[in-house]
């Protein structure tokens, strides 16, 4: 029977107030009665879940928690397609961030006199490399493909875990559904599907990454054609990091390095594809700081299980580690399993690779230095002045002399610049002038020039650079202050056997 809300007597004096209080209390404390409580609870839970999943999905789609934001698809691939529209790529580099950071494609191009491109991707494995190679070969004809060996092994378990996530991300939704249970333990399902869940700790520990993801970097228009290589790492190893090596030792143990499941399959596919397109194959190992790795021979053996099956050349700079030349300043300031080369180190390794391709392998690469278009494309880029003379009308670099013979020494070219990036006096000696050993020692240079409006004669001690331009030995001094060089009038070697001090 339906009860009336208030009985008449409730409204009598003195009772009205208490009834209201009763009702209020009932409203506050009494359990609410629902017709379908189970449905109500399920409905509410579903609404909350839908909202939560919606929010997470939103941040996933916006890629706020991406560890990096599609670097290759955003930057490298468009640059590649733009380049091949008008030009030809002669040498293409494939691999992970090690080759992207360790080889400067401009320096390599300038040293080789042809066009090189770095088709790298952070965290690549051989599967990635194969599909990159396929993209490249089906679009353009390349003479040489250089493959970096870091992609050929799985360095540590944690790297395998990360690559597992990145591989999973590339799959289509139906395959993902099928593969989730196979690839991940149950507690990692969410992490596999959602970058937000996986990288939520960025909120406290990598806010810069989130900011960058929310406000993506507009890549500035490059002064020179973009060739895929990077120079993101700028801080080289500090003395305190060296002290860490003293106490903790190397971080990478070659004995623990193994192949990934699909490595052999994709290695064979890569080699076959290159042969099919008549592309020469070269393998390259970019070094890490020598104290970063122990038992490198074991790692080398693992890589050699693949490369050894072929007759293709392999430049292994880790094995041929030159402790005097590969100084700590060339490596980034961390003790990680995937330690990179810094931006100032990349030119050295690029020139070594160039020398290897040109001198040791004597590959038949096209000489584009005779093409004005090629010079226009590379003029002033990194490594250009080191291999070619500045133009007469160059406002940045000013020629001091060309083909000057002083005794037995032939100076191919000397120039100076006060501009920020190329500040200094550069002297390029012909390789026939002295031996490799001498090329690592300082030389005293006697010059005429102007200083504060007066003609003066000055002596500079110029130092060999880390660079190994293919055609010459390069010397440089950075500080020239107000001195404007006019002419080289003499040189003096520090080595007694190769002394050549001749004055006009």
């Amino acid at each position: 029977m339906k009860q009336p809300k208030y009985k008449k007597k409730d409204f009598a004096a003195g009772t009205q107030k208490s009834t209201r209080v009763d009702n209020k209390e009932k409203e506050i404390s009494g359990p609410s009665v629902h017709k379908h409580p189970k449905l109500l609870l399920a409905g509410k839970v579903l609404v909350i879940l839908a909202i939560v999943i919606g929010v997470v999905n939103y941040t996933d789609n916006k890629k706020y928690f991406e560890p990096y934001k599609g670097f290759r698809t955003q930057k490298v691939m468009p640059a590649f397609y733009s380049l091949i529209e008008k030009d030809t790529i002669d040498v293409c580099l494939f691999g992970s961030s090690h080759i992207g950071e360790g080889i400067n494609a401009h320096v390599l191009s300038n040293c080789l006199g042809c066009t090189c491109f770095s088709m790298h991707q952070d965290g690549s494995d051989l599967q990635d490399v194969y599909y990159s190679l396929k993209d490249v070969l089906t679009q353009t004809k390349i003479k040489v493909a250089v493959f970096e060996t870091f992609t050929m092994t799985n360095v540590l378990e944690q790297e395998q875990e990360k690559s597992k996530y990145s591989k999973f991300k590339m799959l289509s939704t139906p395959i993902k559904l099928e593969a989730t249970a196979r690839m991940f333990p149950i507690d990692e399902y969410w992490a596999a599907w959602s970058n937000t869940v996986r990288n939520h700790s960025f909120l406290f520990r990598d806010t810069a990454r989130i900011n960058q993801n929310i406000h993506p970097v507009e890549y500035p228009k490059q002064r020179f054609v973009y060739l895929g290589s990077e120079g993101r790492q700028v801080k080289s190893m500090s003395d305190s990091l060296i002290a860490v090596y003293d106490s903790l030792g190397p971080i990478v143990d070659g004995d623990k390095i193994v192949h990934d499941e699909f490595d052999f399959e994709y290695f064979d596919k890569i080699v076959k594809l290159c042969e099919e397109y008549d592309t020469k194959v070269v393998f390259l190992t970019i070094p890490e700081y020598y104290r970063n790795i122990k038992n490198y021979s074991s790692w080398k053996n693992v890589v050699n299980e693949m490369i050894g099956k072929t007759n293709y050349p392999w430049l292994d700079l880790q094995d041929k580690y030159d402790t005097t030349m590969f100084r700590k300043e060339l490596f980034e300031n961390n003790r990680l399993i995937n330690q990179h080369i810094v931006a100032t180190g990349a030119p050295l390794f690029s020139s070594i690779l160039a020398a290897y391709l040109k001198d040791s392998l004597q590959l038949d690469l096209p000489d584009r230095t005779k093409q004005k278009r090629w010079h226009d494309m590379f003029y002033g880029s990194e490594g250009y002045y080191l291999n070619y003379s500045p133009r007469a009308n160059d406002t940045i670099c000013h020629t001091i002399c060309d083909s000057l013979k002083i005794g037995p020494v032939l100076i191919q070219n000397a120039f100076w610049s006060k501009e920020q990036n190329v500040r200094g006096i550069y002297v390029k000696f012909d390789k026939s002038s002295f031996t490799k050993e001498q090329a690592r020692k300082p030389i005293e240079l006697l010059m005429d020039g102007e200083y504060q409006g007066r003609t003066v004669r000055a002596s500079f001690k110029i130092m060999p650079t880390d660079m190994f331009p293919v055609n010459n030995y390069l010397y440089k001094i950075s500080v020239i202050n107000d001195f404007t060089p006019k002419a080289i009038i003499g040189i003096k070697m520090s080595s007694s056997e190769a002394k050549a001090a001749i004055k006009n």
Partner: protein, 500 residues
């Protein structure tokens, strides 16, 4: 299967749905379902060790039956049934046989506990002792014994049942399924609360009907527990682990901070577990005991132990302290009893001298400050002072609880000071994250203070009014867990009390 994992969420969803829609209609079927679910839950850690819990349950069940059989009153169904309560009668005197059965149960429960938990500790201690007399050998190596999760909890729960039957506080349970479910009930199986048979057993005989309010409040308790665990406790743990991992480099201030933070980590971690356990049980229609009542607002050590891990403290009080004579045998004997209880409680937590010292230290606090000085402040300022005194004394003792060994405990205590203040951000938490942890702790303490004074009102207003705020909280909890929680690769998210 931890409470703070996706697998538990899935397990809970499936189990609860089946429970509500299918298995709750018939009492027997419901209990069988709960038993199966509980055994499945436990076997996710180690299937083989499930047999230990089954064996212990079987012995306790049989001994309960046997003890009941020695009584003149015939065995009825379960306790607390109408008419089964003993009426006015002469004090119950157990038969001799009953004592034998009781001792069998005690020996089996404590024997199992001793074997799995204390064998290596015992052997190591003997070996160390022999070493003091110059007898050493390299032959000794610890035995490979896996500690079954939750063994200290379910053994104590089983033991309390047999003792209560022996003392005629309850009637023995006649239904093995009910009893086995009582021992293995999954919300409280691995880390308590340690339930008394008198409270929990009868609930298995009450039919379940879905209650929207209970389910909603249970879910909310789970959410709140997860916030405590994943947002605060696990975040603090990163810092505490960082300092304890590098004690040599920590210096004064980081060590002090780590110890204070550990006090909060321990409380939040364990109270979160208890809250999730109580919330889960509530959803299934069971009411478990509270384990914590804002212990860091205690003004005396007696007060503290009536608010901290209440079910264990009560267990020791009822079954050990009173058995030893309690405070009825003179002052000095009372102090000794207190020290014995706390020493045993320390060893219950972990098989090491660290825990023993931790227990004894807390026994001394209680004996000296409460029993001797009668710490009982009345004025507000005195209460605040006592509250801080109790907290920091407790924190001091936790050096032994957290230290991996005596050396670590003494080192962190020796480190304490205000040096190395610049290094506080070098132990796993950056400035932003450490501040965030502090704000959360402060916020939580404030909420606890408000709940202490206005708990009922706040709860009623929250659940029955403030629609928008309530829904904002409902949505904020899972989002906060996902975005701000500590979980995933490289994080240890186990509950501290799982190791006991």
């Amino acid at each position: 299967m931890l409470f703070n994992t996706f697998s538990f969420a899935l397990f809970l969803l499936i189990t609860y749905t089946l429970y509500v829609l299918v298995f709750s209609k018939n009492l027997k079927v419901r209990n069988i379902f709960l038993l199966c679910a509980s055994y499945f839950f436990y076997s996710c850690w180690n299937f083989k060790l499930l047999f230990v819990i089954i064996a212990v349950s079987a012995v306790d069940y049989l001994m309960g039956q046997k003890i009941q059989g020695t009584k003149s009153v015939p065995v009825t169904t379960n306790s607390n049934e109408e008419g089964s309560e003993p009426t006015e009668a002469a004090p119950y005197v157990p038969a001799k046989e009953a004592k034998i059965y009781l001792w069998i149960a005690i020996l089996v429960n404590l024997g199992v506990l001793a074997y799995f938990k204390y064998t290596n500790f015992f052997l190591e201690s003997i070996w160390d002792l022999l070493g003091l007399f110059g007898i050493t050998s390299s032959a000794y190596s610890p035995l490979n014994i896996i500690l079954p999760i939750g063994i200290s909890f379910y053994c104590f729960q089983g033991l309390s049942y047999v003792i209560d039957v022996y003392k005629d506080k309850i009637k023995a349970c006649t239904n093995p399924v009910t009893f086995f479910t009582f021992i293995a009930f999954f919300p409280q199986l691995v880390a308590g609360p340690i339930e008394r048979a008198g409270n929990l057993l009868p609930q298995f005989d009450q039919p379940y009907s879905f209650n929207y309010e209970e389910a909603r409040k249970g879910l909310f308790m789970i959410g709140a527990g997860l916030v405590k665990k994943m947002l605060i406790a696990d975040r603090i743990a990163v810092y505490v682990d960082g300092v304890f991992g590098k004690l040599g480099d920590a210096g004064g201030y980081p060590s002090f901070l780590a110890l204070v933070l550990f006090a909060f980590q321990l409380y939040l971690d364990f109270s979160a577990y208890s809250q999730i356990a109580v919330g889960t049980a509530r959803m299934f229609g069971f009411k478990l005991s509270d384990n914590f009542k804002m212990p860091y607002l205690s003004v005396s050590f007696k007060d503290f132990w009536s608010r901290w891990h209440i079910t264990l403290t009560n267990w020791f009080r009822d079954y050990l302290y009173f058995t030893l004579g309690g405070n009825r045998k003179g002052k000095s004997r009372t102090y000794i009893n207190v020290l014995i209880v706390f020493a045993v409680s320390g060893l219950w937590h972990g098989a090491s001298w660290n825990f023993f010292i931790w227990g004894v230290l807390n026994g001394i606090y209680l004996a000296i400050f409460d029993k001797v000085f009668h710490l009982n402040p009345q004025k507000f300022i005195a209460k605040v002072g006592c509250c801080l005194f109790v907290f920091f004394s407790w924190t001091f003792s936790l050096a032994f609880f957290r230290g991996a060994n005596l050396h670590d405990a003494l080192q962190i205590l020796g480190n304490i000071g205000f040096s190395n203040i610049d290094a506080i951000y070098n132990f796993g938490l950056n400035s932003m994250e450490l501040k965030f942890a502090f704000y959360l702790i402060a916020g939580l303490m404030l909420i606890e203070l408000l709940l202490k004074n206005y708990g009922e009102k706040i709860s009623n207003f929250f659940f029955n009014r403030f629609f928008i705020i309530r829904w904002a909280v409902y949505i904020a909890i899972p989002l906060a867990l996902i975005y701000l929680g500590i979980y995933g690769e490289g994080n240890d998210n186990t509950f501290i009390y799982f190791q006991f």
